[in-house]
Structures are given as structure tokens and as C-alpha cells.
């Protein structure tokens, strides 16, 4: 492996129903079709050196997914960006590629910005629920995991939640109807707090229950900027020509 390429890509529209396993198969095949000289692990059963950082859950769209490809000969990132994007199915779209120059990609992805569209929800009730949620120290929620039902705090990881109302474009809803939108910045912790866990928390603290399932999109990921309370660009170091 002579070079590592860091890729930001989007998962859009109906492709939001892909799982992280679906995406890894699609990426491996796209890399082969695009004839990108991916490096392989050594050993009995060689695997392409592609690593994925914190994939969004199945059903959640994203404008900020990240992966890293190790290649066996130097490549022009712009060329790889064009080739890989052309080779991936529409809806898996390459947004940015840089050559890795700094520490682990996963370590830089400290938090996410999530947008939840809640068609049919009451904006006043949403505001009130968010207030009560933010006022709490801990909000214990439950989620069914592979290891069974698990209880954890959904409050501490949430940096901020903002409520707004916009015209609806959500699947299955009347177009033009006002729709409640939650925009939240959530730190990546263990166990991971996902947008639906926060929604569960809103229900537990204030009885807030939207009438239909939310449409969720991850808007950004990156290191948490303490002054803005928002994620910075995880490619900052690469762009400023920073050290290794």
C-alpha cells in the first residue's frame, strides 16, 4: 500500500435503505469496475483495503459518510473521485476525496449533525419536548440490540437540538404541508446514541410522539469544534497541507 485515499460520500434517496454491508459490497465492486488499484491484505483470504468509519444506520440518508481506500500505486485523488463516482450506483455519490496525511479517520469523526423530518408532528409540542429534554441530566432509553434489550443514557451525547418548520417533501406525505424538523448535534459515544434514541427520549420526557416514522439524514460529521458546537471538516488537515 503506497497511499491512502479518504472519501466523503452521500447515501441518498432510495439508496438510504442500504445497510453498511450492502455499501461495502457496492464499493468493492465499483472499485473493481473503475479499475482503481486497491491494495489487498496479505494472507489466506485477501481482502481489499477499504475501511468504513461509522456508517449511518439502514434507512437513514447521509450527506457525510466516510471511507478510506488503500491503493497499491499512487493515484490522482480527483481522477479517483470521478471514476469511483461514475462507477457507483446513482444515490451513492462521491463528494470529496483527499490523500490521507493525518491521523486516523475514525478518530476525527467525533460527532454528527442529524436532521429529522417529522411529518404531521405538532411544532409547539416539539419545542416543549426539546426544552424538557435539554433540561434533564440523564434520559434513560431502551433499544433492542444484538445482545438483547439494552438501557442507556441518550441525553449526555446530545450537544444541541434545534426545532424548525419547513414545507414537507417527505415520502408518502402531502407536498407543501408544514413539517417539523429537528436538527441535532450528537457526539459519538459508546453505546452510540442514534437519532431514534433521542426521539425516544423526547417521548419519555414529554410524551412527544410524531404520527409517522421520521425521515433522517446525516448532514455532517467531524471533530467537535468547542467554540461553535458544530463538527469541523475532518479533511481540514489534508487541505491545509498539514503534517503526517
Amino acid at each position: 500500500m503506497v497511499q491512502r485515499l479518504r472519501v466523503r460520500y452521500a447515501k441518498r434517496g432510495r439508496l438510504r435503505f442500504t445497510s453498511h454491508r450492502d455499501i461495502s459490497r457496492a464499493v468493492e465492486r465499483a472499485v473493481r469496475r473503475a479499475e482503481i488499484p486497491v491494495a489487498f491484505s496479505a494472507g489466506f483470504s485477501p481482502h481489499p483495503k477499504i475501511s468504513y468509519a461509522g456508517a449511518a444506520p439502514t434507512g437513514v440518508a447521509s450527506e457525510a459518510e466516510y471511507l478510506e481506500i488503500g491503493v497499491s500505486r499512487p493515484c490522482d485523488p480527483d481522477q479517483v473521485r470521478a471514476d469511483l463516482d461514475a462507477s457507483l450506483p446513482p444515490g451513492l455519490d462521491v463528494l470529496d476525496i483527499v490523500e490521507a496525511r493525518s491521523g486516523s479517520l475514525a478518530d476525527k469523526l467525533e460527532c454528527s449533525v442529524w436532521e429529522l423530518r417529522l411529518p404531521g408532528a405538532d411544532p409547539v409540542a416539539a419545542e416543549q419536548a426539546v426544552k424538557e429534554f435539554e433540561a434533564a441530566d440523564r434520559v434513560e432509553v431502551e433499544r433492542l440490540t444484538k445482545k438483547g434489550m439494552r438501557q442507556f443514557d441518550a441525553r449526555q451525547a446530545v450537544r444541541s437540538v434545534a426545532v424548525s418548520v419547513r414545507a414537507d417533501t417527505t415520502a408518502g406525505q402531502e407536498p407543501g404541508q408544514p413539517c417539523v424538523i429537528l436538527r441535532m448535534v450528537v457526539r459519538h459515544e459508546t453505546p452510540a446514541v442514534r437519532p431514534d434514541d433521542v426521539l425516544m427520549g423526547l417521548r419519555l420526557v414529554a410524551g412527544f410522539a410524531p404520527p409517522s416514522s421520521p425521515e433522517v439524514t446525516r448532514l455532517a460529521q467531524g471533530p467537535l469544534d468547542a467554540t461553535t458546537g458544530e463538527p469541523a471538516d475532518p479533511f481540514d488537515a489534508e487541505r491545509s497541507g498539514g503534517d503526517l
Binding site: R29, R32, F40
Partner: protein, 640 residues
């Protein structure tokens, strides 16, 4: 009249179901045509879950061929899982295609490919969700022609009531011919409605329209005869055979799904047909004669298919892949060509006697050396003579020993239980064979780190085979023999721990037997099972033997026949069988003679390398064996 996409109504349901990606379409190399651009519109269905149906070669081939025709379009639809079915019913969303999410009922033809009879209940779900009447007689000009193909269509009688038509054999040419008949009929303004369209199809002799045939019965319940009930309908319907596979190099652009499926590779058929003459094997009987694809076409297809798909594995498909006359050159050529590119080759369906270690080495050169699978099918030498699977114990031991000494650690052996004339001792012989395999392997390698897995399932007699007259073994006997075999394997101190054991119990085989050799009276059983919630019968977690038996008792209560009559009853030579009017090219007297030979342990050679045994396949269909060698070699490609 444009047909709207159902996707906006389906989309809100998807977050609530398992693996929603299987319903969204958008596969690489899939095709969406404008509705109005085509005059003949096919919905192609594989009646099982997407993960099983998507890789199906038959559907992929027809999908591509039909979409290449200028005035024709084809989209695909699969069985939806019960979670989505419930939501579709409550929200009123009809059965849809995955390509453009169009309603299935809006198409001209719904073509359904049945690899197995266990998809019959899923056909009913799809029809019902589509809003198409279940019974063909209730359909109107607003409904598509429901057309069955695939191996199970060689006896479509149990689902005849639900079908408008069935086609036997290779689909490439007949699908185009049917499209042309539909196109002309529509261009003429649909004269005579769907009845005339069906009549036009039936009169070609290549499409079976069940409702144009009446079945008469003897007072004891046996079939007296099956006769056309109107003039212009042929008394026999023939299968279709594509003779030159090099002229039909499909799939050219394999569908690459986003969802995980059962076969994640690019598959190329290297030949069709098999004349080994295994008597239990319906595929080997109904796909005669052998037609090889040439080494150069195979090489071109692999090259193009890998480039189009990005798959990292190639499967060379056929009924017995090591039997291709140039398999050695193909394996070496492909292994050379893809050296260093992390491209794996796999060769499903390998006979013990055709296997050689050089071949296996070529196939594992660029990939893993994990396991080898062989199918002796019968445990004792006598049993293998009965089924005409001419593999000797020496062959097997020698082959397996070589494999172990060349570095393979795991060998899988496939068998069947409940074969005609079988006794307990024949099944217990499997244990002896497995122990000898391990013993020989340990001696050859000097290592105890080798394993062998015995995999065994119940035998089901199939139409158009010499065993079509045979009594199916009852499930109690099958299950008892399977238990005894398990005890014989596990109880062995020296070898037991090196031998794995996998089995399928006997009950599902009885249902498969009922559907395989059933007649039109079985339709009411299928319908009753479906109405009782029967779905996905090929999946053990969904299959219910009790449901089938209860439904059969109820549905057949007014008849002279029952499940035993269809399954465990041996037939007389001259009994009219439900599929006798459907011609797979096999001479009935030859089949009967072969059945008699089976009972007397007499073997028959392969007609590729020995004189013709007059099975009837070639003269009836005007076909002949097409095999190499061509003497050509694969040229290296420039690999970056």
C-alpha cells in the same frame, strides 16, 4: 395510457420492514424503459425472496433478451416477505416490479419461472396482491397472461387452474416468439380478447394452454385421458431447445444487486443438458441433449461479465461442469488470465469420476482452497447402480485422498435417502463410506486435521424421469434411516468426530412429491394451504407439514385420491400420467425400460461417448449432441 410508479406509496412502508433494500430496484445493469415505448410488456417473476430470485440465470437471461427487443420491455418482480405483504394489504399497495415499481397487473404477460414446486403458494400471493384473479377462468382482458416456465413447468398440472399458459424448456427463442404473437394481436386491436390470444399461442404447438385441455378420469380416480377441447389445439405440446449456445451469450450484463443474495458471483453456463443418465435427475432428463458453449465464447462472456459487474468470482455453471470437453483448457486459461487479480473461480456440480486434481488446482490457484463437494447420491454400490450414478467406491476414495494430500481439508458428500429399492443397509453404507474416506485421508496426509461432511435429503420422484412410476418412500422410513445413519456416524469412536452430518427430514419431501407428480386436483390443496397462510414453502421457518396435510385432507375429501395416492403409490406401466401430453422428447418406452433396468441394477452409459440408447430426445426434437473439443485456447487479456 401511462402507468404511474407505486414507489411513493411503497416508500413509507419500507422503514417498517426487514431488508428494505430488496424492494427498491436500481441494480446495476437493470433497465427501465418508457411505458409507452413498448407495445409488449413482460413482468418476469421469480416466486421466491429477492435474495434467491435475483441471481436466477433464467430470469436474468430473459430480462436481457426481451429488453433488447425494440417494441418489448421486461421488468422483474419477486415474492415479498410476509411483513411487507401485510403492510401492502393494509395500505392497498399492489404487487409491483422492482425496476420502475409499476403494478404487475398493468403488464401484458406475467412470466413466472418455477425452479421448484415450493414456489406455488408464492405465485398465489403475488396474483392476489396484484389484483389478478387467482383462477385463470375468472380473468378478463384487463389481466395479464400468466405464463409459467422453468423445470417445474414440465408438469404444470397442479397449478394449471392458476395459469393461462406454460412453456417447456429453454426460454430464449420462445419468449421472443410469444412477444411477436402478442405484438401482432395488439396491433390488430386485440381481436377476440384474451381467448384468441391464448388460442394463437396454443396453436403454435410450443405453448401449453391448460384450459384448452380436458382431463377425464377412470372411476377409481386414475386419469383416463387428457384431450384438447377445441379444434386447432395440438394434442401434445413440445419443449424448446436452444441448439447453439454461442448464438445466445447471455447474460451479457449481469444484474448486480445492492442487497445481499445467495450467489454473489458472475455465472456463465458452460453447457446445457446432461446425458450421464442419473435416473433420479429430472434436469438431466428434460434438458437433453448436451450442448456445449465453446471455450472462446465462455472466455469472452467471463471477460465482459466481470467488467460489467465488478464481481470477484466466476461460477462455471452446468449440470456436471467437469464434463465439458475442454474444461481443463478453460480452467487453465481463466486462471492464467486472472492471475494476481483476486478473482476466484468456482465449479459447482462436479462428478467424482470427472474430477481431477489438476483441474481443482487451477480452480483454487487464485482463490481459497476451502472445501470440495461430491455427490455420490447413493451409499452402497448397488444403490448407485439403481440410480445409474456410476461412481465406484474406489473412484471416490482415490479422488478424495488426492484432494486431502493436495491440501484440501474438508470434503462434502451429498446423498439421498428413500431411493427406489433402498433398504436400511444401503443408507448405513454411507457411514462406512465416510469412515473409509477419513481413514484414507489420514493415511495419505499423516494428519488428523481433515474432515468430511455427509449431507443427505429425501428423494422425490420427478416427472419425465425413469422414476416417475416409483413409489416415494414414506417420511417415517426416511426419518428412521436418517436417525440410524446419524447414530452410526456419531457412535464411531475412531472417526465420528471427523465426520459432520447434515440432513433434511422426510416430511417436506412428501409435499414436494405431491406437487411434483400431482394433477389438476391438487390445485385445491395449494389454494387451501395458501388461504390458511402458507407462504415461502421452500423455507423451513415458514413451511408447515401439518398445514399441508390438513389442507389436503379437506380439499381432497370429495375425491378418490389422497396424498399417499400421489406420493407413496407405485404406478403401472400404462397408467396415464398427468404430464404425458407434455413432451420433453423422451420416449415413454425407453423411460419404462430404464425404470425396469433400475430395479434390476442394470447401468446405462453416457451417450456422449458411447452409442445412442434411444432415449428419444434427439429425434423427437430434431436436435443432436453438440460437444467439442474445438482445440482453441483462451488468449491472455491485458490486465492492469
Amino acid at each position: 395510457m401511462p402507468v404511474e410508479s407505486l414507489f411513493s406509496r411503497l416508500e413509507p412502508l419500507l422503514p417498517k420492514v426487514q431488508k428494505p433494500i430488496q424492494y427498491v430496484g436500481g441494480e446495476l445493469n437493470s433497465t427501465v424503459k418508457d411505458w409507452d415505448e413498448a407495445t409488449v410488456r413482460w413482468a418476469l417473476m421469480y416466486p421466491d425472496a429477492y435474495e434467491v430470485g435475483l441471481p436466477n440465470q433464467g430470469v436474468q437471461i430473459l430480462y436481457e433478451i426481451l429488453n433488447e427487443l425494440p417494441e418489448t420491455m421486461a421488468e422483474r418482480t419477486y415474492a415479498v416477505w410476509p411483513d411487507l405483504e401485510a403492510l401492502m394489504r393494509s395500505e392497498g399497495v399492489p404487487q409491483f416490479t422492482v425496476d420502475a415499481h409499476r403494478p404487475v397487473r398493468a403488464f401484458d404477460v406475467l412470466g413466472v419461472s418455477f425452479s421448484t414446486e415450493l414456489g406455488y403458494t408464492n405465485l398465489l400471493t403475488a396474483l392476489d396482491l396484484a389484483g389478478i384473479p387467482l383462477e385463470a377462468v375468472d380473468r378478463t382482458d384487463e389481466d395479464p397472461i400468466v405464463l409459467a416456465g422453468g423445470h417445474a413447468a414440465f408438469n404444470p398440472e397442479p397449478i394449471a387452474a392458476f395459469l393461462d399458459a406454460a412453456v417447456l424448456g429453454d426460454g430464449e427463442q420462445i419468449a421472443i416468439a410469444i412477444s411477436e404473437v402478442v405484438r401482432e394481436w395488439k396491433a390488430e386491436g386485440r381481436p377476440g380478447g384474451r381467448d384468441e390470444l391464448l388460442m394463437r399461442l396454443a396453436s403454435t404447438g410450443g405453448v401449453y394452454v391448460p384450459k384448452f385441455y380436458d382431463v377425464e378420469y377412470h372411476p377409481d380416480g386414475r386419469i383416463k385421458r387428457v384431450v384438447p377441447n377445441r379444434s386447432g389445439v395440438p394434442s401434445r405440446v413440445f419443449k424448446h431447445t436452444v441448439m447453439d449456445l454461442d448464438e445466445w451469450p447471455y447474460p451479457k450484463k449481469p444484474l448486480v444487486p445492492l442487497a445481499e443474495t445467495v450467489h454473489e458471483r458472475f455465472s456463465v453456463e458452460i453447457f446445457r443438458g446432461c446425458t450421464r443418465g442419473c435416473r433420479f435427475c429430472q434436469a438431466g432428463m428434460i434438458t437433453r441433449p448436451v450442448r456445449e458453449r465453446s471455450i472462446t465464447t465462455i472466455g469472452d462472456m467471463v471477460d465482459a461479465g466481470l467488467k460489467e459487474s465488478g464481481f470477484s468470482e466466476v461460477g462455471l455453471l452446468s449440470l456436471s461442469s467437469a464434463d465439458h470437453s475442454e474444461i481443463g483448457e478453460i480452467a487453465k486459461g481463466l486462471a492464467d488470465r486472472y492471475e494476481g487479480t483476486q478473482t476466484g473461480l468456482s465449479l459447482p456440480s462436479t462428478r467424482v469420476d470427472a474430477f481431477n486434481i489438476d483441474l481443482a488446482n487451477e480452480f483454487s490457484r487464485n482463490g481459497r482452497r476451502s472445501g470440495l463437494t461430491f455427490a455420490p447420491e447413493g451409499g452402497s454400490e448397488r444403490m448407485r447402480k439403481v440410480i445409474n450414478k456410476m461412481v465406484t467406491e474406489e473412484d471416490l476414495i482415490r479422488t478424495v485422498t488426492t484432494a486431502y494430500s493436495q491440501g484440501w481439508r474438508q470434503v462434502k458428500l451429498y446423498f439421498m435417502c428413500g431411493l427406489p429399492t433402498e433398504e436400511d443397509i444401503d443408507v448405513l453404507a454411507i457411514a462406512d463410506l465416510a469412515k473409509k474416506v477419513i481413514k484414507a485421508g489420514r493415511e495419505a496426509t499423516g494428519s488428523r486435521d481433515i474432515r468430511c461432511t455427509v449431507s443427505i435429503g429425501g428423494f422425490v420422484p420427478k416427472p419425465h424421469t425413469p422414476f416417475q412410476w416409483a413409489a416415494q418412500c414414506d417420511h417415517e422410513t426416511v426419518d428412521r434411516r436418517l436417525r440410524e445413519l446419524r447414530d452410526a456416524l456419531r457412535g464411531d469412536k475412531e472417526y465420528g468426530r471427523a465426520i459432520g452430518y447434515r440432513y433434511h427430514d422426510g416430511k417436506p419431501s412428501i409435499v414436494e412429491g405431491l406437487l411434483s407428480r400431482g394433477d389438476r386436483r391438487v390445485a385445491s390443496v395449494i389454494r387451501a394451504v395458501w388461504e390458511d397462510g402458507g407462504r415461502f414453502d421452500g423455507w423451513s421457518e415458514h413451511f408447515s407439514y401439518e398445514r399441508w396435510m390438513t389442507a389436503a385432507e379437506r380439499a381432497l375429501s370429495g375425491e378418490l385420491v389422497d396424498v399417499e395416492w400421489y406420493t407413496t403409490r407405485e404406478r403401472e406401466e400404462h397408467e396415464v400420467l398427468p404430464w404425458d401430453h407434455l413432451d420433453a422428447g423422451l420416449d415413454r418406452e425407453w423411460l419404462w425400460q430404464d425404470w425396469q433396468d433400475a430395479v434390476n441394477d442394470v447401468e446405462v452409459e453416457d451417450c456422449r461417448w458411447t452409442p445412442c440408447y434411444d432415449c428419444g430426445g434427439c429425434p423427437t426434437m430434431g436436435t443432436e449432441i453438440q460437444i467439442g473439443p474445438t482445440g482453441k485456447k483462451l488468449l491472455p487479456l491485458t490486465v492492469v
